[in-house]
């Protein structure tokens, strides 16, 4: 009996040296010091990452991402049906911030050649871009891992179409030591595989100049539905006329013949032939 008393006594004083405030007081967040508040996660909140974040540049997306931006010490998977269709439109605003902070953007195995004059519209300049042409899946993984381990970049975008879950897990473990966001661009089919990346995002094209983004894995409650983010690529804002602001309205219904009067192609044709005749 003495032993039992001893034991319970230990239990009270040992692990919890400070007596806890009553439950009612604990729910009021203002009671807690800021440091404790930050470390505390409640079931109804988005998980707050311990690391820094880089704002994605889209307020609607920031609101859905834990911590309010792309996480810096972990992997982010960007899944899309076709590689090389909308990466810069989605990531450009975040990269602009990173380059503005004088840090490097490293690309590993992009599906097409990056075109610097266009990337300048996304804020990436020549002094802050590196292109690593890895080809085989093993090379892509090796380069990505070495870069992540070095932690010497501002942002890393790596196109890894084929990777096993344990390889992604390995990258994620390494990524916890680096300072910048790491984006893995992967095909849409990868959504059926499990992945160690704490944040996974599906992107698709939406009508007009919008991107459809769904955060389908994150720390916190599941994200239902998707977001529509307006993003005009490559400096096209400058030439957008009111008519071009909604290109979907220009698309003729399927029945209309392509060279009917008023269709853009017909306009092109007449304009091109005009000087000849």
């Amino acid at each position: 009996m003495a032993a039992a008393l001893q034991w319970t006594g230990d239990d009270d004083s040992g692990p919890v040296p400070v007596s806890l405030p009553p439950v009612a007081a604990r729910t009021a967040s203002s009671e807690l010091p800021a440091a404790v508040e930050r470390a505390l996660w409640r079931g109804d909140q988005l998980g707050a990452p311990v690391s820094d974040v880089v704002s994605s540049g889209f307020p609607a997306l920031d609101a859905e991402l834990p911590g309010g931006g792309w996480p810096c010490c972990s992997l982010t998977e960007v899944l899309q049906a076709q590689a090389g269709a909308m990466e810069w439109r989605l990531l450009g605003p975040a990269l602009r911030r990173i380059v503005a902070a004088d840090q490097m953007v490293v690309l590993v195995a992009p599906p097409k050649h990056p075109h610097l004059p266009g990337l300048r519209h996304a804020g990436v300049d020549e002094k802050h871009l590196i292109w690593v042409q890895a080809e085989t899946p093993a090379e892509r993984l090796w380069c990505t891992e070495q870069l992540i381990k070095s932690a010497a970049f501002g942002a890393l975008i790596s196109w890894i179409p084929q990777a096993r879950p344990e390889q992604i897990r390995r990258l994620q473990v390494c990524a916890q030591g680096c300072d910048g966001p790491v984006f893995l661009c992967r095909p849409l089919a990868a959504r059926h595989e499990s992945s160690a990346a704490p944040l996974r995002v599906i992107t698709a094209l939406d009508v007009d100049w919008q991107l459809r983004v769904q955060v389908f894995k994150r720390r916190g409650p599941a994200h239902s539905g998707g977001l529509s983010l307006a993003s005009v690529p490559g400096g096209l804002e400058a030439i957008l006329t009111p008519r071009l602001a909604h290109p979907s309205r220009l698309t003729p219904a399927r029945e209309v013949p392509a060279d009917a009067l008023g269709s853009p192609v017909a306009l092109v044709e007449t304009r091109r032939h005009a000087p000849v005749h």
């Binding site: 300048r120 519209h121 871009l129 490559g234 192609v265």
Partner: protein, 448 residues
């Protein structure tokens, strides 16, 4: 005074170590102190003044012990005199500070002091077995019966007379040879021997406050080799920034050696520092430095270039041209530093405002892709909707190239359009002229 004696282990057949090996060890030791000397088969160095620079006695001792073992040193001893340290090293006692030095030395056998060797017989007939017994003999008698060297050496070992050494001087260039223990048939296996040479080179670089930007590893083939196989081979490795980081140099060498195929077994290695530049090392800071966490990006890029090939780790340079293919030029990242500050940058600056105002795709295809047509409409994953254009790009008659088909020019005459595809997003397509009066549509880039 803090003296260290490094005893080079003798070779397998019992012969004393070669002068090359001794000299190599001495070169390595010069990074700790300029007071390094070769005594018999050992290297002695005085490091009292360097203790703080290398982080305290314990850190210095650990480092010397570990690196000298890698270099093949057999025994190591510390004492307050050079000959004393050497005697302790021969006797296998490492720490000469746990008791007064004279107490330790008194118990050592005669062979530990070189100067006793000529008089070994006489001394043993006198009944002297240890240094202490020799020291107990009357000094006047020793100097009369034996030569003065014995007394001098004894005094120097016990610290009663200052040591006189011929200090090793730092050579202007670095070149070191190593005979491998056995014949090496695979190139990556040479790394073990090469690492020793690299350690010597890093010691030499540290003593010169310099970093290497190029070094050459040469190997000589064994004399037993097939006819038609040359004398040997070599590998020159260049780095963008001068460095004397042994790990980085070793990794670079390993990546390069992995690609080498040896024609015959190798017995001899030689390492030469080709290009050496002064190097400023980061000074040690009281406060923890957040910057130097990982490997620096330049070092990493070099390592990746060594594995993938330098033409596959690239950095862009803008060029003042309006044809998409020549708007930018991708340069190997390790050459970028040299050229990027010169002409390339100047051009980019003058061109910058114009480039920003024009819409440009973010991805381009290496070669334009001919599009299929349905009637007058170009198709790419479904019909394309042309949104804006045409943007006429014409020119290039001045850009002459010679290939197997003869001299021709990169003349382009294209009308670029922004096109929308339902599945592929916004594309940069152009209509170009073909032979005769025909035109063709091509996909050239993506506004991704």
């Amino acid at each position: 005074m803090l003296w260290a004696a490094l005893l080079l282990s003798s070779r397998l057949d019992g012969t004393p170590p070669s002068t090359d090996a001794l000299h190599g060890l001495a070169l390595w030791a010069l990074q700790f102190t300029p007071r390094v000397a070769v005594v018999d088969e050992a290297v002695v160095l005085e490091v009292e003044d360097s203790v703080r620079l290398f982080g305290g006695k314990r850190a210095l001792r650990d480092r010397v012990r570990q690196e000298s073992t890698d270099l093949g040193a057999g025994a190591l001893a510390w004492a307050s005199t050079s000959l004393g340290a050497l005697a302790l090293a021969r006797a296998g006692i490492e720490n000469g500070f746990k008791k007064p030095l004279s107490d330790l030395l008194d118990g050592l056998p005669l062979e530990t002091l070189t100067a006793t060797r000529p008089h070994r017989t006489t001394l043993s007939q006198l009944g002297c077995q240890t240094l202490g017994q020799v020291r107990a003999l009357p000094r006047g008698g020793i100097s009369r019966r034996f030569d003065a060297d014995l007394l001098t050496a004894l005094d120097q070992a016990y610290g009663q007379r200052p040591p006189a050494h011929a200090w090793i001087t730092l050579p202007e260039t670095f070149k070191a040879r190593l005979e491998l223990m056995s014949r090496v048939e695979m190139a990556p296996a040479m790394l073990f021997g090469a690492r020793r040479l690299l350690m010597q080179m890093c010691g030499w670089l540290a003593a010169r406050q310099a970093g290497a930007t190029a070094f050459t590893l040469r190997w000589a083939h064994d004399t037993m080799r097939a006819r038609g196989v040359g004398e040997g081979g070599g590998l020159t490795i260049r780095t963008a920034e001068g460095t004397r980081d042994i790990e980085h140099l070793c990794r670079l060498l390993a990546e390069n050696l992995a690609k080498v195929e040896l024609e015959a077994p190798v017995l001899d290695l030689e390492l030469v520092a080709d290009d050496v530049r002064p190097l400023e090392v980061a000074s040690a800071s009281l406060l923890p430095d957040a910057v130097n966490k990982g490997e620096s990006l330049n070092l990493l890029l070099e390592r990746m270039a060594a594995r993938l090939g330098p033409e596959r780790v690239l950095r862009p340079v803008l060029v003042a041209d309006h044809r998409i293919e020549w708007m930018q030029h991708w340069q190997p990242a390790n050459e970028y530093r040299a050229n990027g500050k010169g002409a390339g940058k100047g051009k980019a600056k003058s061109k910058a405002p114009e480039a920003v105002s024009m819409p440009q795709p973010t991805f381009v295809l290496a070669t334009p892709l001919r599009l299929a047509m349905r009637g007058p409409r170009p198709m790419f994953q479904g019909p394309l909707q042309l949104l804006a254009g045409p943007h006429r790009v014409e020119g290039g008659w001045w850009h002459r190239v010679k290939d197997e088909a003869g001299e021709r020019t990169h003349l382009v005459r294209r009308d670029y359009w922004v096109a929308m595809s339902e599945h592929a997003g916004f594309l940069w397509v152009f209509q170009g002229r073909l032979a005769e009066e025909e035109t063709g549509w091509y996909l050239h880039g993506t506004f991704a």
